[in-house]
């Protein structure tokens, strides 16, 4: 497992994520006649090397090193994403579990169809609707995410509730759906039948026998959702005028500020790889088949 992880993940980040953009970069580099004379691979290598040492290049627009911008933006984005994530993982799983336990009853229909509906809506659509409801009509929450300078932790969270909601909704249906189908499979399994026929109380059956097996696949799915989450950040940060990595990439792309753009995307790649690694690790810890697979 570790071997496999070692094979796949670095491939993800280094070669493959940057692979498609390396060409892109060559074109850009040509356009800006920066380092055209050097072979692509060397350029690429030096760039990675510098990146890993904290030198992400110089912004064309700001005429200043990219690194501080990227690090600031990443910090902001992580705050936003984390709020959405912390809310959505337990609530999404809970929703899926409740739906599965009430299979084909009204509660299941509401959660499943409701989840499906909110998941498929573009973030800016839910964002606009939420702004209208909570920001414009009810005036409960601020409609821009930028908090006043020097705001405390709770004020920051207060400002971030509205922006994190569309992200929450997109992920909610997805996670709930996975959790639900995992639960249904586990509930229908022979080992659950064994546990019930042992005469174990229903709560024990669910907690000890069903949940763990049911939620294993959901863990992996949550990690792959990091990608979508980042895509959502681009939109949400633009909509709410928030200085995050998404709006940084967006601005850089508009202004053709390539060093900034590349740095932003590589950062995203690293975040994604870390998330996948964590999920793989969690999965193998929780799944004895993988953990002990080699013994037999």
């Amino acid at each position: 497992m570790v071997f496999l992880g070692g094979q796949v993940l670095p491939g993800n980040v280094g070669r493959a994520i940057l692979g498609p953009f390396a060409d892109q970069r060559a074109v850009d580099a040509l356009n800006h006649s920066l380092g055209v004379d050097r072979p692509l691979l060397v350029q690429y290598g030096t760039w990675i090397w510098n990146f890993l040492h904290g030198d992400m290049g110089t912004s064309y627009i700001f005429r200043a090193p990219v690194a501080p911008f990227v690090i600031d933006a990443l910090g902001n984005s992580l705050k936003l994403a984390l709020i959405a994530f912390v809310l959505v993982v337990p609530i999404g799983i809970l929703g899926g579990v409740i739906a599965a336990l009430n299979l084909n009853r009204p509660l299941d229909r509401i959660i499943s169809l409701g989840g499906l509906s909110v998941t498929v809506l573009p973030e800016f659509v839910t964002g606009i609707i939420l702004i209208l409801i909570f920001g414009v009509w009810l005036r409960w929450l601020p409609i821009a995410a930028a908090w006043p300078k020097g705001a405390g932790f709770f004020t920051q969270i207060y400002y971030l509730i509205l922006p994190s909601l569309p992200l929450f909704l997109v992920l909610f249906g997805y996670i709930a759906r996975m959790a639900r189908s995992g639960m249904i499979e586990a509930l229908d399994s022979d080992y659950t039948r064994t546990a019930v026929l042992k005469g174990l109380p229903w709560r024990t059956v669910i907690w000890r026998h069903v949940l763990r097996n049911a939620l294993l696949p959901t863990i992996t799915v949550i990690a792959t959702q990091t990608g979508y989450l980042i895509g959502g950040l681009v939109v949400i940060e633009t909509l709410f005028r928030y200085q995050g990595i998404g709006s940084l990439i967006f601005t850089a792309a508009r202004g053709k500020d390539f060093p900034m753009l590349e740095a932003g995307i590589l950062t995203i790649g690293i975040v994604y790889a870390v998330a996948t690694l964590v999920a793989d690790f969690l999965y193998s810890v929780l799944n004895p088949r993988i953990r002990l697979g080699a013994e037999q």
Binding site: L103, S189, D190, Y191, R193, T194, A195, V196, L197, K198, G199, L200, P201, W202, T204, R208, H209, R212, N213, L216, L286, N287, P288, R289, L292, G293, A294, E295, Q296
Partner: protein, 677 residues
Amino acid sequence: MTDPRQATNALELKDLSVAYRVGRRDRAVLRNLNLTIKAGEAYGLVGESGCGKSTVALSVVRYLPRNGSITGGSIALDGKDVMKLDAEALRRARADSVSMVYQDPGKALNPSLRIGRQLTEIFELAGTTGQAAEDKALAMLNRVRISDPASVMQRYPHQLSGGMQQRVAIAMALANDPSMLILDEPTTGLDATVEAEVLDLIGQLRRELSASILFISHNLAVVSNMCDRVGVLYAGMLVEEGSTKDVFNDPRHPYTVALLRCLPRGGQRKDQGRLDTIPGFLPGIGATIVGCAFAERCALATERCRAEPPPLYELGDGRLSRCHYHDKAQSLPRATPAEIPAVAPKRAPPVLQVEGLNKTYASHGRPLRAVKDVSVSLRPGETLGLVGESGSGKTTFARLLLGLVPPDEGGSIELDGKKLAPRLASRSEDQVKAVQIVFQNPDSALNRSHSIRHILSRALKRLGGLSGKALDTRLEELVRSVRLTDRHLAVKPRQLSGGLKQRVAIARAFAGDPRIVVCDEPTSALDVSVQAAILNLLADLQSKQDVSYIFISHDLGVVRYLSDKIAVLYLGRIMEFGPSEAVFSGPHHPYTEALLSAVPKLDRSESARIRLDGEIPSAANPPTGCVFHTRCPRKIGAICETQEPELSEAEPGHTIRCHIPFAELARLQKPKTMEPA
């Protein structure tokens, strides 16, 4: 232990009706089923797939699938009405008095909990915790004859073999000392020698424990060995009941009579006549039944049978039969004539000559010798039976012949004296059509998107080289030769029953007039009545076309029926090879002896039991010396562990791979005669 339940019946089903809801309609699965199991009794319930056997079990423990419901009648466990229990009382009944073991133990155990935990939780339920529960769990594993139970406690289910998993499942079922134990096909899917061990274990435990047993199986022989009384289920109704001995020796319902005739028994062979079959099909789930459910398939049926549903007639001695003419049941005429055209034996040169065939796979970086040094030869019109348990390499051998996987360098396969290329792509068209296969599972073998006409036409075009009118004529012939009709041509495989699909698969294999057809467990997914028809068909086709079969099966009775020669494989090696009669009647290799002994027999005529200990070793890590020495009951000493015996000729054409001299084997095995089912 004083037990008040001695007086009451362990299980009593009264007029039990169960239906499954499919497409907004309730379809009856069990129809007014009455069944009583006395305290301490072992009751066997037999029937073909779809007759409702498992539904009985699931109703008793109130664990029907979501769309199933009990539509009438009552279920009493120890005199208590199960259907009146509230959730808590039902839970307590499951915890205290009823347990269940089912097929596929790999799925029945929780994959993410250690074996120990899954056992101790049962004792915790009864109030024993901590070390005491652990001790009880250990004792339980000891009881099901698991060696090294302490280490098994620490393992996860996927780290155990199928036989071990089923032992654990049995231990779990017995942990609460139930008064009622339900075994639903507990050994189906296990290897023959492992199945024999598990059955022995159940038999021993029965004597040690007080539990009553409901044993559900499609295998008549297994039930006959395990049970005191037996009930035959047909279309959700009990059609016959009585003591095991009576029902199997003196059946009183035409269905039971016919079912018993479908089995190749007492060493019956293809040249001694056809097997009988049961025409028609089981009534579908939810079918409306007027009169006797079996009337449509019964040659004895009269107008009365079609109009008036027969009651369960009491025949005395606790015997029941749901047939108006139970006294005439055994005069049921055969559905298939027994006589077959005599075939004069020919002395043609071999059609197939395999020399020193090897196949090595890489498994986790280590070589896995799936087939090692296999040599066989086969004449036209002959059948070579391949026998062996999982990992024996019989399927790999078949794939090597077909060219689906290339063998290692060195060996050779000759067809009609001409060498066959190792890879299918380099074989000539004639060679390709000469070696075909009938797969085990027709659902996998037939493309579900194509109509039967498309499937067979394509085969005739590619293998028969036909087109246009000639193809149509030949198609009609081919369809008729496997006893299908034009009506079957327009449909897709999914719309046909399992037996019909297998006929299509056979027709496809015969499209190019093959020389050799590999039959890879062609009947193991089918019910016995359908199996008999397929075996007859294969035998008929062979007698007419001079085709040779490589017949792979785990069912020794079936192999014996069709085969002229037998090769017994173990871990990729041929342990014994020879004429069918010589191999079966012995003297034989100790492994063959054990395999034969493992077959449950209908008439309980077991004179001696050879049981193998331990697990089948992995082919990736075979034992040194003779690969069988780890399990061999006749091991003679160190030589078995260090030196691999040669395959040496015992009699003309009969070779055995054993250090024990043939005469000595003959002496050791002499006292008993062994006949497979």
